[in-house]
Amino acid sequence: MESSRPIGLRVVEVMAALSMAIALWMVMAYAPMERTMGIVQKVFYFHVAANWLGMLSFIIAAIAAVIYLFTRDRKWDALEVAAVEIGLVFAFIGVVSGSIWARPIWNTWWTWDPRLTTVTIMLLVYVAYFMLRRGIDDPDRRARFGAVYAIVGMLSVPLTFFSVRIYRTIHPVVVGKNEAGAQGAFDMTVAMRHTLFMSLFAFTVLYVALLWHRYRLGRAADRLEEERLRLME
């Protein structure tokens, strides 16, 4: 059962730690302070990166689900579960950090703005994914139902992403034109752009390391389940 980490994973771990350290330094020391909002604007860098990972992860889960349905190879099911779990973690971190930013900028922790509403729907859709899986004992049936759900659930991702571009909203838009009523929007300087791209890069490398670890954990759980069934026969 116990197997050492492959060299590729070790390399990704080191890269993730280094790039996260650089991104954190850039947020703290390199990026300039925005005048209107003050230092809380700097939450933006990791908030955007966390939400990027949430959405990326749900798309990867849907791709793994499609491949699983074609191949019926359980390794794709393990990847799908890993991606949904990590996506949920980062989407939740994104929501909480956004709420903390909103308190001094919007003067409230929460408002039912289209972006906040759609991201809440997206979170609930993926929480329900795990509830569905827990309700099914047969591993193949569980994987099949989970795959179909992950594909359908992925529809909530573009809905969340485009909500600030389609509906009237107070949530700022990073790429594209802000609504007239957007509160907390700002023009990015070159140093701000560098910091944002470094944060996106660092979080993406961290994501690869986390996904790899969680995938290995899922495969180990599958092996344990198979071994248990074999010994019971």
Partner: protein, 51 residues
């Protein structure tokens, strides 16, 4: 003259939530790996005892 507001409490709270959340998830991965290994060892020990 414009005065930049002091929002440092919310900034540090936000950073702590983000980085703390990542660290907590790493701990949960390590913990589950440990539990899984313990279950595997217990299963192997049970199998050996049965033989």
């Amino acid at each position: 003259m414009h005065q930049t507001p002091d929002t440092s409490f919310y900034f540090y709270l936000g950073q702590a939530v983000i980085l703390g959340g990542i660290v907590l998830y790493l701990v949960s991965l390590w913990w589950r790996q440990r539990e899984l290994q313990a279950d595997w060892d217990a299963l192997q020990a049970w199998d050996e005892d049965r033989d």
